[in-house]
Amino acid sequence: MEITIGFIGNPNCGKTTLFNDYTGANLKVANYPGVTVEKVEGQIIKEGTKIHLVDLPGAYSLTSYTMEERVTRSFILSDECDVVINVVDASTLERSLYLTLQLLELGKPVVMALNMMDIVKKRGMEIDLHRLPEMLGIPVIPVSARKREGLDILLHAAIHHKGQNKPDRLIHEHDYISKHPHKHHDEYAMVYSDQIEDKIDEIINELRLKYGSQQNERFIALKILESDGEILEKYPELSKHAPLQDEIINEKYAFIEEIIKEVLLYKEKQDALTQKVDRILTHKVFGFLFFLVVMALVFFLTFSIGDYIKSYFELAFGLLGEFVTHLFNVLKVNEALRSLVVDGIIGGVGTVITFLPNITILFLALAFLEDSGYMARVAYIMEGIMSKLGLSGRAFIPMLLGFGCTVPAIMASRTLENKKDRLRVMLVTPFMSCNARLTIYILFSEMFFASHAMIVAYSMYVIGLLVAIIASWLIHLFDRHKNETYLIIELPEYKMPDLNTVAIYVWDKVKDYVEKAGTTIFVATIIIWLLLNVGPNGFGDMQNSFGALLAQKITFIFVPIGLGFWQIVVALIAGISAKEVVVSSCAVLFGVASASSAQGMAALLSSLNAIGFGSLNAFCLMVFSLLYIPCVATLVMIYRESQSLKWTLLEGFFQLAVAYIVTFLVYQIGLLII
């Protein structure tokens, strides 16, 4: 037997934690056909049943206003989905039931997973677990995703309910007498007023007459009355009916109030701890200072602990390089192949891999901030500043994610409702310093600024943030068609981050980084090696390689910004494939096996000093690397999200221009000071 179960719930309801409890890190991430909404799937075998699990995007409703909601709705309505598990945060039951009522109208078997019951108990609230299923007509299973409790019962209920499209026994005690001809109270949990029910009947009759019998006619009729764009497009002949959307929403909430009144006891008890903590963390002065401290702490951990672990990685790659060299000498392998393997592959990819500890710690910190509930507060803290830039405070979240990796940050921009907002966020987000650029800062700041390395590297994050803010402000200033921005964001309760969720999040990012290092960077490194070791005279003469000849032709453009060195120009061109490649290219260009090791750094520093590349040049290189054209993966993502080649190219040129201007100013002012 096989079954497909879709997991759906409001954002922050613990849906992903529950999904991860079942699937572990064994996930398949793809996109829904034709759209950029992520589809996360997993597969398990339970009680001899092959269970296919699909984690649907978090949603508050199932209207057709957002892409995520359309995708979710269409998946549930499809034959692919057998049962829906509606994950509900028991501590916010009142708000969560709106989505539940919409799900019930889709006509698929629904099982409710009542999560976070421990929080409800802790607050002193109680939920009547007998009355709730009676009022909804679906099984309600209390679970704790964090403690992994109730998981087997939930799956058992889901398997048991496959094919049961009718609700379980409904027991309502309404205080009004319906004059509607049909006894819907035995068929549906959500029964509307006679006025709406009469309209539903009228539309269903018209639907059958014009389009023949349809599956789930009640749902179609309701959506017609809600003026749902997608449904109206499918059934244009039914568009003449006056919308009753406000009435439908109000009646749903009236029913929710009825449910809450009957099942939720001691509702008035709220989470005092979250409110107390928020008084400090979202304070107008202390809140902002705390945010800066948190970010500084994150980067301190990334550098101190990350560098300690990194030294072991360097040791391993150093030994590997020596072993391969020794082996090739014994086997009398020619110098070109030895150089390709040791200097190209091990030197290039190895340099990138050694930064893995820094990146892991950075993502670990971001995952903790996200899962603890703090990340959502950042939108509130930043709203004042962001609204001055013509952006919603919520826009700060994709920008903040840009500190981790620009690719997911660009993807996160889709959470903004306004398209103009999305494009502007996509334009400035690449200025936020991603972890790939961290490798450049670590190397060059440690080589040229020794004891001040951490401050210099941290300054890059501040410069990136400032450039993003100034660029947004200028765009806002010159934008003649200003749009108002609307911050509406849920603030989840503070909680201890779930280690399993954090671990899977970090693993996913680290795996992505390694795969990137193993594919894009590997290919780029080999191309760079060929470009720098092969020239008109064949292998070996780097000074006369094709790369050197090309770079020498355009180096003069880089002189005014302090980067008039052909090797640096080659490294910057190579960095477009992935920013980490700037480091691995420098390693290859200067013949250093492991640029991140102490010996490698000393050798690279000596080579750079020999060509007249000093600390000001190093600072300029870091600034230019921070701001110039984003990596190929980011450009592809911008194209996918904006669906515009023109916008993508414009963004590339815009960033190049900003990078050139800022680095020019830094270099020229630096020359006056030094």
Binding site: Y60, D278, T282, Y380, G393, T485, Y486, L487, I488
Partner: protein, 74 residues
């Protein structure tokens, strides 16, 4: 009065939401409907608020709060 003029820790009843349709629908999906109860938990600037309704907390920007008409609850 509008919500941005609301006082910290006071409760209000929503009378009208004058926002573009998409934002109004989004707020309604979250539970902010006419006649619903809303409590101000925190505020900053002109009217950027942290509020609670239907058992959940939300951050609302000034452009949102200035367009929600409310009346104070006793």
């Amino acid at each position: 009065m509008t919500l941005d003029q609301g006082v910290l820790h006071k409760k209000y009843e929503v009378l009208k939401i004058d926002l573009p349709l998409e934002n109004r629908r989004y707020l309604e999906a979250l539970g902010m409907t006419v006649k619903s109860e809303i409590e101000i938990l925190n505020r900053k600037g002109k009217g950027i608020l942290m509020v609670r309704f239907r058992g959940s907390s939300f951050a609302l920007g000034y452009n949102v709060t200035k367009n929600i008409q409310v009346r104070e609850l006793a």
